[in-house]
C-alpha cells in the first residue's frame, strides 16, 4: 500500500513538473515560428521576402506590431533596398477586422521625395502585413502618421487616405 502511494506521488509530481515546464517553455521560448517580412529592391517594385523568428508573444496584435517594426527596420545594411527613413518607428497598431491600422512616427514624411520611395516603402509594409500566414484574414493596411490620418505624406504623392491592399501596387 505504501509502495503504491509512493508511485502515485512520483507520477503526480512528474505530471506537475512536466506541466509547469511546458507552460514556461510555451510562454518564454515560443515554438520557433517565423513570419515573412518583405523589403523592396531598389528597382522600386520587386518584393523580396525573408524570414524572421517570432518571439514568445503570438497574439495577432503583437505579431502585427513585430512585423511592422521589422519592415521599418528593413533588411541588414549590406542589402540594397528601398528603406523607410531612419528613425521611423511604430507608435501603435490596431486590428480592425480585415484591416490593420499602423501608426507611424513622423520621420516617415522624409520619404516624400519621389514616387519611388513612397511606393516601395508602403508596398513592403502592405505585403508584410497582408501575408496570409502572418495575419490570417487581414487584407488591408491603414496608415496613420503621428496618430492622425493623412491624405498623403506632406509634399508627397502617394495617397494614404484609404486602407491599402496589395491591389494598390
Amino acid at each position: 500500500m505504501r509502495a503504491q502511494r509512493l508511485i502515485a506521488l512520483i507520477v503526480a509530481l512528474a505530471v506537475v513538473i512536466f506541466g509547469a515546464w511546458w507552460v514556461i517553455k510555451k510562454r518564454h521560448h515560443g515554438g520557433g515560428d517565423s513570419i515573412v517580412v518583405y523589403y523592396t529592391k531598389t528597382d522600386g517594385t520587386t518584393e523580396v521576402p525573408w524570414r524572421v523568428t517570432l518571439g514568445p508573444a503570438r497574439d495577432p496584435k503583437s505579431v502585427a506590431f513585430y512585423a511592422a517594426a521589422q519592415v521599418l527596420a528593413g533588411p541588414s545594411s549590406d542589402i540594397e533596398a528601398i528603406r523607410f527613413p531612419a528613425g521611423t518607428h511604430v507608435r501603435a497598431i490596431e486590428l480592425d477586422g480585415s484591416t490593420v491600422e499602423v501608426d507611424l512616427s513622423g520621420e516617415v514624411g522624409k520619404s516624400a521625395e519621389g514616387g519611388l520611395s513612397e511606393t516601395a516603402e508602403f508596398k513592403s509594409l502592405v505585403w508584410t502585413l497582408t501575408d496570409p500566414k502572418t495575419l490570417p484574414g487581414v487584407d488591408a493596411v491603414r496608415v496613420r502618421v503621428d496618430g492622425t490620418r493623412v491624405a498623403t505624406l506632406p509634399g508627397g504623392h502617394f495617397e494614404l487616405d484609404e486602407p491599402l491592399s496589395r491591389s494598390n501596387f
Binding site: I24, T42, R51, V150, H157
Partner: protein, 694 residues
C-alpha cells in the same frame, strides 16, 4: 486516502501557481544606482533608474534612454501593453526584446539580459546595459561614474571578386586620422571610440591581419585599427553611406578599388553578410566578423529565405516591368512579367505582351503546368522564383524554341491539383492559380492574345487531338493603345509637379519644381504645335490650390485637408475641362545614388495603355534607363477621371541622371518623347481640329 489526494493536488496547485508566476514575474526592485552616467563627454540623466541584478532598469519612455538612443542614431518601436520592444540601430540591426522574456535578439543572435522586461503601469521597464551593449556602447565603471563608451563593435571582411572590402561599424559617427600608410598596410586612429574587437586577428585571403589597439582615458578613448594586406596590395578608403561605418578596399595592383566600379570577376564574387561571430572568436578567411552581444548563442532569428536553384537571388515576389520593351516585327514580345501572391494564397502571373500571339497550355499529371506563347520573345531576364504561396511551389518564365520559332514558356510546379485560369486581354495574359484543389480540371487549352481574342479550354487528355493552330491576326486599327478620338476632345492637361513653397526634391544643384515646369512648358509648345488644346496646372512657380477646395476640405472632417486640396486642385483642372489625357511630370529621388531611370506610374486600368505608349516613345529618345510602367496609389493618377500617368523623369540623386536633367537639350528631348507618346497613343487629332499632326 482522500487526505493523501488532497495533499497531492494541493502540492500540484502550488507548483502550478509558482510556474505561472515565473512566466511574468517582475524583476525584484532594488535601489537607484549610486553612480552618474556619462556618454561621449556629456552627462546622461535618467528619470528613475534602478539597479537590478547587475543591470540598470529604466522605463522605455525614460528621457535618458531616449537621449542615448538619439545619440547613437537608434529608434525604438513600443506601444503600451504590447509585449514587443523593437529597437533599430543606425546600421539597421534589429534588437528585439519581449516582456516576460530575458532573452533578446540582436540581428539574428540571441542573448540573455540579466532580467526580463516587465510592465510597470503603462510603461515597460527594460535592461539599460543590455540595450547599450547591443548598440555597441559599453557601460564601464570608472570611479564613481559609469561611462557609456561608444565602440567599434563589428568588423566585416568581405571578398568582392579579387578585392577585399573591410568595414568597421561603430556606435557613433567615426572621425579618423591616418597614422601610417603604405600600399599594403593602413593604420587609422578613430577618436572618441573604444573597441570590443579582439586586439589581433589573423584573417587570411586578401587581408593578412587586423590589429586593434585602444588608448586614452575611458571618457575619451581612441582606437587604432591597422589592416595589413599581402605584399604588393594596394588600398583605397571608400566613401560610406553611413557615417557610423568606415570602409577600406584592398586588392592586387591593376584591380579597380572604387566601389562604384564593377566588381572584378563579378561572376565569382561572393556577397558576405555581417554579424554572426563573436568578437575574439576564430575568424575564417573572408568570413564576416562581428562583435556579438554577451551570452551569445548561435544565430537563431533572422535568415534570408533559401536562394532559388541555380544561384538565383532569393525568390522575389514581384511586379517587375521588364526593360528592352522595343517591339520587333514578326514575333510578339513579352515585355513584362508580374508575379503576385494574392491575399487568399493564390497566385497571379501577368504577362505584358506586345503584338499578337497564340498560346497553348498543358497540365501534366505530376503537378506541373505550363503555357507556351508561340512566336514570341522574352524582353527581359528569365524568371525562376519560389513564391511564398500554398498554391504554387515554383514559377519559371524563360525563352525556349529556336531563333526561327521562339517560344516563351511559363511553367508552374503546383501544390496539388490547383485550378489555373488563363485570361487573355489586349496586351496581356493573366494566369491565376487558385488556392484550392479542383477535381475536374482541364488538361489543355489554347487561345490568342491581341486581335480577335479566342480563349478556350478543354478537358482533353494530353494524348488528345493536336491543337488547331490559330493564325495571328493583323491589327485592325492604328489605335491599338488608345481610345478612338471620335468625341472631338482635344484637351490635354499637363501637371508640372510641385511648385511654390513645395519645391519637391532638391539635390545636386537641381530643384524638382523648376525641372518639372521646364519640361512641361516645352511639352506644351510641342503639343500646341501639333494642334492640341493644352492646359497646365501651373505656368509659374506656384503651388496651385483652389481656395474653395481648401475651405471645403477643411470642414469635411477628413484628414490632411490642405495636402489633399493642393493635389485635388490639379486633378480638378483636368476633370473640369474633361481632358482627354492627364500627364504629371516629376523628378525622382532615392537614398542609393545608383538608382536611376525613368518610371511611368499609373493607378487605374485605363491608364496603362497611355503609360505604355509614353514609355515606348520616351525611353528611346531620352536615353534614360527604363524603370518600367509601375502601378501605384498616387493621388493625381487616382483622382483624375481620364487616362493619367505620372512620369518620374529621372533621379536627382544619380550622377548620370543629374547630368541629363541639368542639360536643356535633354529637357527638350524628353518633352519631345512625351509628345511622340501622346501621338502614338491618341493618333490623329479629332476632325474638328484645324490642325493635325498626321
Amino acid at each position: 486516502m482522500n487526505h493523501f489526494r488532497v495533499r497531492i493536488f494541493s502540492a500540484a496547485l502550488v507548483l502550478a501557481l509558482m510556474a505561472s508566476e515565473l512566466a511574468f514575474a517582475p524583476a525584484r526592485a532594488q535601489s537607484p544606482p549610486a553612480t552618474t552616467f556619462w556618454f561621449a563627454g556629456t552627462r546622461l540623466i535618467f528619470d528613475s533608474p534602478v539597479a537590478l541584478d547587475g543591470d540598470v532598469a529604466v522605463a522605455v519612455r525614460d528621457s535618458g534612454l531616449q537621449r542615448l538612443l538619439a545619440r547613437v542614431g537608434a529608434s525604438i518601436s513600443y506601444e503600451p501593453q504590447q509585449r514587443y520592444i523593437v529597437i533599430t540601430s543606425a546600421d539597421r540591426r534589429i534588437i528585439s526584446f519581449t516582456v516576460g522574456d530575458a532573452r533578446y535578439a540582436v540581428a539574428g543572435v540571441v542573448a540573455s539580459a540579466s532580467f526580463a522586461p516587465f510592465f510597470d503601469g503603462n510603461d515597460v521597464i527594460v535592461p539599460l546595459y543590455a540595450i547599450a551593449r547591443a548598440l555597441y556602447v559599453q557601460p564601464i565603471a570608472a570611479g564613481g561614474d559609469t561611462v557609456f563608451e561608444p565602440q567599434i563593435g563589428a568588423l566585416d571582411v568581405r571578398p568582392d571578386g579579387r578585392r577585399t572590402i573591410v568595414t568597421l561599424h561603430a556606435a557613433t559617427a567615426l572621425k579618423y586620422v591616418k597614422t601610417s600608410e603604405t600600399p599594403e598596410r593602413l593604420s587609422v586612429t578613430f577618436s572618441g571610440v573604444g573597441s570590443a574587437l579582439s586586439p589581433n586577428r589573423h584573417i587570411g585571403g586578401g587581408i593578412d591581419d587586423v590589429d586593434v589597439a585602444v588608448s586614452g582615458p575611458v571618457k575619451n578613448p581612441a582606437s587604432t585599427v591597422t589592416i595589413t594586406a599581402p605584399k604588393g596590395a594596394q588600398h583605397l578608403i571608400a566613401v560610406t553611406a553611413s557615417p557610423y561605418d568606415f570602409t577600406a578596399v584592398f586588392g592586387p595592383p591593376g584591380v579597380a578599388l572604387d566601389l562604384d566600379a564593377p566588381s572584378p570577376n563579378a561572376a565569382s564574387g561572393v556577397s558576405g553578410t555581417s554579424g554572426g561571430m563573436a568578437a575574439g572568436g576564430p575568424a575564417a578567411a573572408g568570413a564576416p566578423v562581428a562583435a556579438a552581444p554577451p551570452s551569445a548563442t548561435p544565430p537563431l532569428v533572422a535568415s534570408p529565405l533559401p536562394a532559388a536553384p541555380g544561384g538565383q537571388p532569393p525568390p522575389a515576389v514581384a511586379t517587375v516591368p521588364q526593360t528592352e520593351a522595343t517591339p520587333q516585327s514578326g514575333a510578339a514580345s513579352v515585355t513584362g512579367v508580374a508575379v503576385d501572391v494574392r491575399s487568399d494564397g493564390g497566385l497571379d502571373v501577368r504577362l505584358s505582351i506586345d503584338g499578337t500571339a497564340t498560346y497553348d497550355w498543358h497540365r501534366l499529371r505530376d503537378g506541373r503546368w505550363y503555357l507556351d506563347v508561340a512566336d514570341s520573345k522574352l524582353r527581359g531576364p528569365a524568371r525562376d522564383e519560389r513564391p511564398i504561396s500554398p498554391a504554387v511551389e515554383s514559377v519559371r518564365v524563360r525563352q525556349i524554341g529556336s531563333p526561327d520559332a521562339p517560344v516563351v514558356r511559363v511553367a508552374f510546379t503546383l501544390h496539388g491539383d490547383r485550378r489555373v485560369d488563363v485570361t487573355p486581354a489586349d496586351g496581356s495574359l493573366t494566369l491565376s492559380v487558385a488556392n484550392a484543389d479542383d477535381n475536374d480540371l482541364a488538361r489543355t487549352g489554347n487561345g490568342q492574345i491581341g486581335g480577335a481574342t479566342v480563349a478556350s479550354s478543354s478537358a482533353q487528355s494530353p494524348a488528345g487531338p493536336p491543337l488547331a493552330p490559330i493564325a495571328p491576326q493583323p491589327e485592325t486599327t492604328p489605335w491599338k493603345f488608345g481610345p478612338p478620338a471620335a468625341d472631338g476632345n482635344r484637351t490635354i492637361v499637363i501637371d508640372p509637379g510641385h511648385g511654390g513653397d513645395d519645391a519637391g526634391t532638391a539635390h545636386n544643384g537641381l530643384v524638382e519644381k523648376e525641372l518639372t515646369l521646364a519640361i512641361s512648358l516645352r511639352l506644351r509648345t510641342l503639343l500646341t504645335q501639333a494642334g492640341w488644346n493644352v492646359r497646365l496646372t501651373r505656368e509659374t512657380d506656384i503651388d496651385p490650390v483652389s481656395p474653395e477646395l481648401l475651405s471645403a476640405f477643411a470642414g469635411d472632417g477628413r484628414p490632411n485637408s490642405s495636402d489633399r486640396a493642393y493635389l485635388q486642385t490639379r486633378c480638378d483642372v483636368a476633370n473640369a475641362s474633361n481632358a482627354r489625357l492627364f500627364i504629371s511630370i516629376h523628378v525622382n529621388y532615392a537614398d542609393a545614388t545608383s538608382v536611376r531611370g525613368t518610371t511611368f506610374y499609373y493607378t487605374k486600368p485605363q491608364d496603362v495603355p497611355l503609360a505604355q505608349a509614353l514609355e515606348r516613345s520616351v525611353i528611346p529618345v531620352a536615353g534614360t534607363q527604363d524603370d518600367g510602367v509601375v502601378k501605384s496609389n498616387l493621388y493625381v493618377t487616382k483622382h483624375t477621371n481620364m487616362p493619367a500617368v505620372l512620369i518620374e523623369t529621372g533621379f536627382i540623386s544619380n550622377p548620370g541622371d543629374v547630368r541629363l536633367l541639368a542639360d536643356r537639350n535633354f529637357l527638350q528631348t524628353f518633352a519631345a518623347g512625351i509628345a511622340a507618346g501622346v501621338k502614338a497613343y491618341a493618333g490623329a487629332l479629332p476632325a474638328m481640329s484645324s490642325k493635325t499632326d498626321q
